[in-house]
Symmetry: C2
Subunit: 156 residues, 2 copies
DNA sequence: AATGGTTATGTTATATTATAACGCTTGTGT
DNA sequence: ACACAAGCGTTATAATATAACATAACCATT
C-alpha cells in the first residue's frame, strides 16, 4: 500500500489534515496563516492535481481578488514549505508533510494527462546525483526531480 | 577531467561543433535547418548559460524578428533534441550531444548565480527513481532532473 | 486605549513568457 | 508548371508574474 491511494479515498480527510498541519506548523514557526493564505491553501488542496495560479484567482468567489494577492499567498506557502511549485507545469501542489523539510529535495511524479502529482522520496537517487554534481565542483543547493508520465488511472 | 572545462576553453570550437552536429543530424533526419533555426541555435550557443526566448528575440540584429518566429525555431530545435528547455528558468540551452538521444532523461546542474548549465548522465539515479515510480503504478515517460546550486566559479 | 513599527493586503499598472490565427512565400515531388 | 506541404511574417492576444505605492490590520509597548 502506497502513501497515496488516490483512486478511492476520503479527500475531505486529506484537506482537513493538511489544514491542521498547516495551522500547527505556522503556530510553531510564529508566522501567520491569514485568511487569504488559508483560503489559497484550501483551494490548492481541492485535489491531488497541480493547480494554476490564475485558476486559483478565478476560484475566489468574491471575484475581486487580484493576482498579487494570490501570488503573495503562494509565495508565503512556498516559503513555509506548505506547497510546492511544479516548474514544468507552472502550477502548485500541496505538500503532504510540510513538517519534515526534505533533505532529498523535491521529487514528483507528474501525470501528463490529468496533472496528478505524487511525491517520491528516493533518497538514494538524489545522493547519487549529488555525488556526481560534487565531482564536477558544483555545490548542490536544491535538487528537483520532475518525472513526467502517466498515472495508473490514465494508462487506460 | 570533466566533459566541460568551462573556465578556459575555446568556445568557438563549441559553437562550431554544435553547428556541424546540428547540420549533420538534420541532414540524416531529413529535416530542414533553415536560416532562422540556424541563427537561433547559434545565438543559444553563444555561451553555456541558459538563454531566455525574449533575449534571443532582441538579439536578432534586424530588429524585426517577432516572438512567433523565434518560438517556432525553438520548438523545432527542441523536437530535434538540439536544445533543451530548462523549466525552472524558462530558458534554453544547447545540447552538446544531440546525436544520442538520452535514455536517462534530462539531467542538469543549474547555477543560480550565472545560469550556467551543465548536463549530467547519471544513469543509476534515474533508474532508481524510475523503479520507485513503477512501484507506485506510474508509467515513466520523461524524467527531468534540475539541480540548482552554485557552479565552481560562483562559489567565490 | 493611544502610539508607532511591522506585516499583510488592496490597487493600478505593467513586465514577461507564449500562442492563435491567418495569409504569404518557399521548397519539394510529380 | 502544378499542387501540396512546410516555413515564415504579421497582428493580436493569452497566460503567467511582478513593481510600486497606498491602505489596513496586527501587536508590542507605553
Amino acid at each position: 500500500m502506497t502513501e497515496h491511494a488516490h483512486h478511492q479515498h476520503n479527500h475531505n480527510h486529506c484537506v482537513k489534515t493538511a489544514m491542521e498541519n498547516a495551522a500547527l506548523l505556522c503556530e510553531e514557526k510564529g508566522v501567520r496563516l491569514t485568511d487569504t493564505r488559508k483560503r489559497v491553501l484550501e483551494l490548492i488542496w481541492q485535489g491531488h492535481e497541480a493547480v494554476k495560479a490564475y485558476d486559483l484567482i478565478q476560484q475566489f468567489s468574491d471575484g475581486g481578488t487580484k493576482p498579487p494577492t494570490v501570488y503573495r499567498a503562494l509565495d508565503f506557502l512556498l516559503e513555509q514549505g506548505l506547497i510546492h511549485r511544479i516548474d514544468s507545469l507552472n502550477a502548485f501542489i500541496g505538500c503532504p508533510h510540510p513538517d519534515h523539510h526534505d533533505e532529498c529535495g523535491l521529487q514528483v511524479l507528474v501525470c501528463d494527462e490529468c496533472h496528478l502529482v505524487e511525491e517520491l522520496h528516493t533518497h538514494d537517487a538524489v545522493s547519487t546525483i549529488a555525488d556526481a554534481a560534487s565531482a564536477t565542483g558544483f555545490k548542490v543547493v536544491r535538487p528537483v526531480v520532475e518525472v513526467h508520465g502517466l498515472c495508473e488511472k490514465c494508462q487506460a
